[in-house]
Subunit: 352 residues, 2 copies
């Protein structure tokens, strides 16, 4: 069914994606957890709407331009959290414009960002929901202690144009206990200051089925779960049949009995390893390692005879699905027995 | 001069790029070597024309769609080598169309590809120049021995619609001696069969200043040299001042005294390591390591106080320049004391 597609190409099995969406939504529903999927994995308004249909309360984006592209492409995408510290006049101007269109919230982990948001939104006469980003161990962004979280929450609550919306974290691996401890303490300190903490939002597909181990969490932001990938199979979160996104590639050379070259390299699969060895899984060929990528070539090696022919097509589950959809202008959406349709990826490359 | 630019953004100092182009052209001229730059680094017709002005004989592309984008954007780009095994009816059809527009050549390392090219071009009544790709040690594509090279050259020379153009290799690191040995033997065997070997083409920026150590080479295809990058600085090929491409980023969080977060992650810098530790060089701050990237965040660490403030802007030399220009729809071209201009990157994302 993929014979007409020029390779390399990114394929998405929409039925598998729907099943992945429904499975996590059912889990979240059973634990009273709201779902706000991160669109970074698919970057497609149509799939975000499927997530809403399944029960999601809104979407998560990482950058303003990503949110703009999603909102422009989906009439029903009217509740957006941007989990990023936003700075600078141009971006604040764009943020105000977005807040006039949809229910918008953002995060902040420092006073500079809070003060900038307040200046822009109070001047515009618009109120913005702001979460405090908390570092629960991933050591990326986030305030370092519940006390600091409370201090920043107080600053937000007191700032003209802003409304304190709650606490947000992107937790470390196996981080449920840390999330529970940090958030419980932060919430208590904030509430002693008579500030409500309406929402506590956590995320990450690898540990999504352990979200209930941090019961203080009220909302979860999974991203990769919609497509899954080799990194999640390696963690035991899913199987190959749950991987909705694959890369279709053609063998262009078999220069040695145990080596073959495909026409997909880092410009499709990317160099993301996520701690794995090799650059993807060739479906049906667990004996093959993709041991090297250059921009337009992937090198496949096997211990024995690789038994591939020039012209043969393979499907590869990438290490990391999210970054692959950022490499292509379009993906081929398909379902059982229907011809694949090439769909543009509106939120691709939206980095500002 | 970059205050007006929203970050992250890719900046190109066109004066530095020109100097890099001229330096290698002068070296090549002094050794009687033709230059056919690979456009994968800049993906910009205007810079390819600067390379032609400096003395390049044509351009190299990796994929058909890349060649199409370059030709559409540059009237003077009329001599194109695609260094790729091309297969499949749609691609062969596109290749014939290209060959009707420009002087076109391609490579092949196996009989399946040669036979496909021959069928398509003989049917179209067009003649295509075809090189034999040789594996001189990089173990990617390429025939494995001079004997195999001669056999495939013979097949090309005898094939309707094709003309044998010579030998091509992408050599391993420090590969000049291997190139010289392989190509000398292959050329001799081919010539004993009364087939001429008009061109022997090699490539790779890391060893470009050693190209003369393989004097059998008649043409060289450097790519990265136009911008340079951290990988080439690490090899001692150039200095930071020769790096024409940088990524402009903003510090969005300083969550710990020795840690800061910037708004550029793998969606700008990519995960390419090229054997290096860390994900880029912060200009003016050799004490900082970019130790971790996620899609939209870069984590900067220092042994002592990192001494950065939220809102501060930094410029980063990426590990690998070529892949960075593939991440953005546009780059900011600038020269001393002139306002940067945002230029689209026509050959970005051209993977088929």
């Amino acid at each position: 069914m993929f014979d007409e597609i020029q390779t390399p190409a990114v394929l998405v099995d929409i039925d598998v994606a729907k099943r992945n969406i429904e499975r996590f939504q059912a889990y979240a529903d059973s634990h009273g957890l709201k779902v706000r999927p991160h669109i970074k994995t698919h970057k497609l308004p149509a799939i975000a709407e499927i997530q809403l249909d399944a029960g999601a309360v809104g979407i998560t984006c990482q950058k303003i331009s990503e949110a703009e592209a999603m909102i422009a492409g989906g009439n029903r995408l009217t509740d957006v959290l941007i989990t990023y510290n936003i700075l600078g006049d141009d971006k604040l101007h764009a943020l105000v414009a977005l807040a006039r269109k949809v229910r918008l919230s953002v995060v902040a982990d420092n006073a500079t960002v809070v003060d900038g948001l307040s200046a822009a939104f109070s001047a515009a006469g618009v109120t913005l929901d702001v979460f405090v980003e908390c570092n629960t161990g991933a050591d990326r962004c986030g305030v370092g202690s519940p006390q600091e979280a409370a201090d920043l929450a107080g600053r937000i609550a007191a700032a003209p144009g802003l409304h304190f919306a709650g606490l947000m974290t992107y937790p470390p691996v196996d981080g449920a206990a840390k999330v529970q401890a940090f958030m419980t303490e932060a919430k208590a300190v904030i509430e002693t200051r008579r500030i409500a903490v309406p929402t506590i939002t956590s995320g990450g597909s690898p540990d999504m089925m352990s979200a209930h181990l941090a019961p203080i969490t009220t909302e979860y932001r999974p991203g990769t779960y919609v497509y899954n990938d080799r990194s999640l199979v390696a963690r035991g979160v899913c199987g190959w049949g749950d991987c909705a996104l694959t890369v279709l590639a053609t063998v262009v050379s078999v220069p040695a009995p145990n080596r073959a070259i495909i026409d997909a390299g880092t410009k499709t699969l990317t160099s993301d390893l996520l701690g794995l060895i090799g650059h993807g899984h060739v479906l049906g060929r667990p004996d093959i390692t993709i041991d090297q990528l250059s921009e337009e070539h992937g090198r496949l090696c096997s211990a024995g005879d690789i038994a591939l022919e020039v012209g043969q097509r393979l499907r590869i589950v990438p290490n990391h699905a999210c970054v692959v959809t950022n490499m292509v202008d379009g993906v081929y959406i398909y379902r059982k027995d229907k011809a694949p349709e090439l769909r543009p990826v509106p939120a691709r490359g939206k980095i500002v």
